[in-house]
Symmetry: C2
Subunit: 639 residues, 2 copies
């Protein structure tokens, strides 16, 4: 964590100085704004936290509820989300209060007495094999609390406008603020009042029954199955020995997905209530919790549950729906040609994809929607990029949602099978492990676009697949010898990261490929110069770091190109945290060159503000880097 950069800070360094629209931010929803976020769920709150890092953008977030969410339904946090929390500055805090899943156990009928269940197998949780972060269980309400804090403590000082309901919108063809939004106060002093406000962009983060989706006429395609599940968060005494372990339980009486939760006592149970008839018309949703508990006891036989408190419960039929497109742009029109057709309204999260909760994906995918959209809005609204960038949002996220629906449909149907349909009791465990990358959140790979380069130089860094999230490795910070995760320095501050992995020459050798690249990068012609606004810090848009192959003791900071030791901020202070060396060292075994297969000739890795690898290039391919960044960003100065 870096601070004191603008002078000594006495208090909590997580509270950044207010700037731009964050200074004297009005309490009331203004008449005009840049971005209006509808809904304060995981996607909306992440988006607010991200846009708080763009304080020149006026961002408001309206929420029908009159305050904080007291009881969230989602609770599964995949490692990719914990990585994201790290970027927003609260991974260590939420991890400390969350439940860490170490194992998933599988139970099935005892072959010798099928009325009883027995433990068939244990599987180690996959998280640590594919991320340095764990697989957590924590209440959605707490996730929202932390994002709310990040939004409020960012320079934009964004806080939700509670008690304000979305009531419709219309996108005009012209004007600075073409989206006319109708809102209604439903709580507080102004309850009952209706207003029209105008925004440049609207993000519909308003859940499965999204009014924004309806207003832009997008179709939510899919179906609801005729299979019902009960779900409950319960405080229980029991003789079931795996009460604190995640379990998939298949029994002659039905199935349970069992998930221990944070705090050591509470558990979440998904209880299979079986098939319902075509003419049920959602009557199953009236099933009393007592019936769900009774069913759970039947499934768990010979073990029993003594429920002491039900914190929350629900009954639902599994549904799978995905919206055909995640924005209001006309897919058939040429957005660039008429200028007025680029998207103005976006859908995120449950507003555009809904599915069962059992694969623990919903909140996670929703947050990545917000992470994908946030920096793009920030870039366009601050003039760093053209509005065409916003077309990549739907193009990148809609296929992810479709994959999720497909995965969840398969997982949900496997979970709902009867014992007689299962030939191999290990099959579910095998499927679980084989597909682990997906529910961890790491399968997402964006295709080529203005912000994802082609793979022609992928062989220089096979461990950083283009279009996938940048997978961090430990490196040694040269200035102090501390072992740090290279990727953890990349906070969700809206900046691009450019990692210049050095060639094998002695650090500081003026004839090295790295030195030549650094000289080019600081020249007036370089895209790093060209896309950085005049008057801004030299690293305001691109955070450029060097990683040397030598041991850190052998890197002489006096000879490292000044690009990697920039002076910035009002005091013009040197930033010492951009020069790294590959391990091993006294405190790590890792050698990032070996672990990611990086070319010993050096390689440049460009990473987007949402942590996805954008480009891999040789140090010598300066023209290609210029061309790629020129496609993603607008020039900020005349060269």
């Amino acid at each position: 964590m870096q601070f004191h950069h603008h002078g000594y800070v006495s208090g909590d360094p997580r509270v950044q100085d207010a700037a731009g629209t964050g200074i004297d931010r009005p309490d009331d929803l203004p008449d005009e704004m840049d971005v209006l976020i509808v809904g304060s769920g995981p996607a909306g709150m992440l988006l607010a936290a991200q846009l708080s890092q763009f304080p020149d953008v006026t961002t408001r977030i309206i929420e029908r509820r009159d305050g904080r969410l007291p009881l969230g339904q989602a609770d599964g946090i995949q490692p990719r989300s914990v990585e994201t929390f790290q970027a927003f500055g609260f991974a260590e805090r939420i991890t400390a209060e969350a439940f860490n899943i170490a194992y998933m156990n599988f139970w099935a009928p005892d072959p010798e007495d099928p009325a009883n269940i027995i433990r068939i197998t244990r599987t180690e949780d996959y998280a640590f094999k594919i991320s340095e972060f764990p697989h957590l269980i924590v209440n959605q309400a707490r996730v929202l609390d932390y994002f709310a804090e990040a939004a409020l403590h960012g320079p934009g000082r964004i806080a939700p406008d509670y008690g304000v309901e979305f009531a419709g919108l219309r996108v005009h063809d012209d004007g600075e603020h073409p989206v006319e939004v109708h809102v209604r106060y439903v709580a507080g002093d102004r309850a009952g009042e209706e207003r029209t406000v105008r925004a440049k962009y609207v993000a519909g983060c308003d859940g499965a029954r999204s009014g924004v989706r309806e207003a832009i006429g997008r179709r939510h395609v899919g179906d609801v199955s005729l299979h019902a599940w009960g779900v409950m968060d319960v405080l229980v005494n029991t003789d079931f020995p795996d009460w604190r372990t995640k379990c998939a339980i298949t029994s002659t009486a039905g199935n349970i997905l069992h998930i221990p939760r944070e705090g050591g006592y509470l558990c979440r149970m998904y209880i299979d209530l079986g098939e319902i008839t075509e003419d049920d018309h959602h009557r199953v949703r009236q099933t009393p919790v007592e019936a769900v508990i009774r069913k759970a006891n039947e499934i768990l036989h010979p073990y029993t549950l003594d429920v002491r408190q039900v914190a929350w419960h629900s009954v639902y039929e599994v549904g799978h729906r995905v919206t055909d497109r995640f924005d209001d742009a006309d897919a058939d029109a040429d957005a660039d040609a008429d200028g007025g057709r680029s998207p103005r309204v976006f859908l995120t999260g449950d507003a555009c994809h809904t599915h069962s909760a059992k694969a623990g994906q919903g909140m996670n995918v929703s947050m990545q929607d917000g992470f994908n959209l946030g920096w793009k809005l920030g870039h366009v609204l601050t003039g760093l990029s053209s509005p065409a960038l916003l077309e990549t949002y739907s193009a990148e996220r809609q296929p992810v949602a479709q994959q999720l629906i497909d995965f969840d449909r398969e997982w949900a149907s496997l979970m709902a099978r009867k014992p007689e349909e299962i030939s191999d009791p290990q099959e579910l465990a095998t499927y679980y492990l084989a597909t682990a990358e997906f529910p961890s959140g790491f399968m997402t790979q964006y295709g080529p676009s203005a912000v994802v380069a082609d793979a022609s130089h992928q062989d220089l860094a096979p461990g950083f697949p283009i279009g996938k999230r940048f997978k961090s490795v430990e490196v040694v910070r040269v200035c102090d010898g501390n072992v740090v995760h290279l990727g953890h320095h990349a906070r969700a501050d809206g900046r691009w990261r450019i990692y210049a992995f050095a060639d094998g020459a002695v650090a500081g050798d003026a004839t090295s490929a790295l030195a030549a690249w650094a000289e080019w990068a600081t020249s007036p012609e370089s895209p790093i110069t060209r896309h950085t606004p005049i008057g801004a810090d030299s690293d305001a848009v691109f955070d450029v770091k060097a990683v040397f192959q030598q041991r850190f003791e052998e890197v002489d900071l006096a000879r490292v190109p000044r690009l990697f030791l920039p002076e910035s901020g009002p005091l013009g202070l040197t930033d010492w945290e951009k020069v790294y060396a590959a391990g091993p060292s006294a405190w790590t075994e890792a050698d990032i060159f070996a672990e990611r297969g990086l070319s010993r000739e050096g390689v440049v890795v460009v990473v987007r503000p949402d942590q996805y690898v954008a480009a891999i290039l040789p140090l010598t391919a300066t023209d290609e880097l210029s061309a790629f960044l020129g496609g993603a960003l607008l020039p900020q100065r005349v060269v």
Copy 2:
């Protein structure tokens, strides 16, 4: 972190339910209270945080300042303090914002050109070799913020009474509240007003010029040397390559102890200003910061400092003083005999030991003063222990302070030597490493007393030295397979920990030594029963845990004695987090039995509420355990 134990918690689980005096706690200082803490520095605030866990005790803390400390002088945090932060629930948060010291480098005159300094050697910081926690640098003000939060969020809801100054005290021979304290309001609405309040006990945490020390007539013994140092926290640009590494610099122009600080930019420099004359009369303290900066530049030659901001600076002569006794008891009288002579007033921190800042010890030792005193006051005031327990405070802490003074005197004089006095340039590095256990905070070993047993069974657990702090090891939590640090479950909640390390029998074997011990421990005759108040949870005073030798998968919870799966709280919920297995497992290499040399016949390790090992006993030595606990605690029921 355990919560939801009294029912579902929606918000921050670090905020405990208010209880006892924490419910409707009056804003104003009352006329009578159990404990009055004078001063809100590290010792006082830790004490408040600890006593907040004893909400039946009325605790107030007065502070002359009108609010939070904006700029603390101390910044070095030894691993023992980070362990302590873990127990108070904020280690991961403060670590995230602190600077981690990985190396200490030593600089000396270049033999070929003594006008220039060169790096002589690097030493790896010792912290991780003796603790799972690092050696941190973070502002004292932030440490106080976190303890203030712990005090406020504990059941006692304790917040400092700011703007109230200590003005004197008198200890009466009788009455429920024998300490009469005179206070003065110096800020706020009542500024100028004087009051007399009464307390059962007073803790003088009021710094080097302690009024409490003066009021009880204790002598502060020691001297001030004729050697002056300048100290400054500065934001600097420099070509000195180790600016972000802790360094001891010996130069022909003098010496510097250089300490990088949190946030990546700020550094603390201690600059040797050399000998002063006998008739200086503290005039050296008027040295302007420009002179200190000039001196620093001379010492660093050929490197230079370009100071951009001075956050804080001071000039001082090194002094070493320690108070003869840390309470008001009459050392010559027999406290037990006349009953009225047991201590009523205590001194902590700088009020009873002052020394140079350069060994980074002051704040750390002060906090351990508070940790030692807190639970003892809590025990006596809730009737768990007799007032005689309080005599162990001075007996345990005064020798620690004396050791500290001796260590610091040696370290400060080594640091102040001229190059010509140094025969071996490596000597300082060698001394630094050889004595590492002391500045880490782990040398403290309390001698036998009512709360530290004799060492007759030490051979059963040589890795847990009696009287030293319990050094944690990773174990596997049986209920969920998570690898956790056994010691981290021991929060600073005022409870004793009893770890029953099992004999080698199969877990749950009813004929095992562990099973016999557990049966005895739950009997009416056992000290665990006898010292637990009627109506309290069975683990309210003793948190008893089992650690098995088998792999966790082999421990059948259904057969573990119920002592280790107690039901407690208003819902009578089972606590699943008291049964552990030694590793190794998929997630750890550690085997606690091997790492601590624990007897394979089993062993009982008793740990005090302040994390010091109190007793080591065989599972069969039930009479000895009864006798030991009977000496430390009062019976709570008639058997």
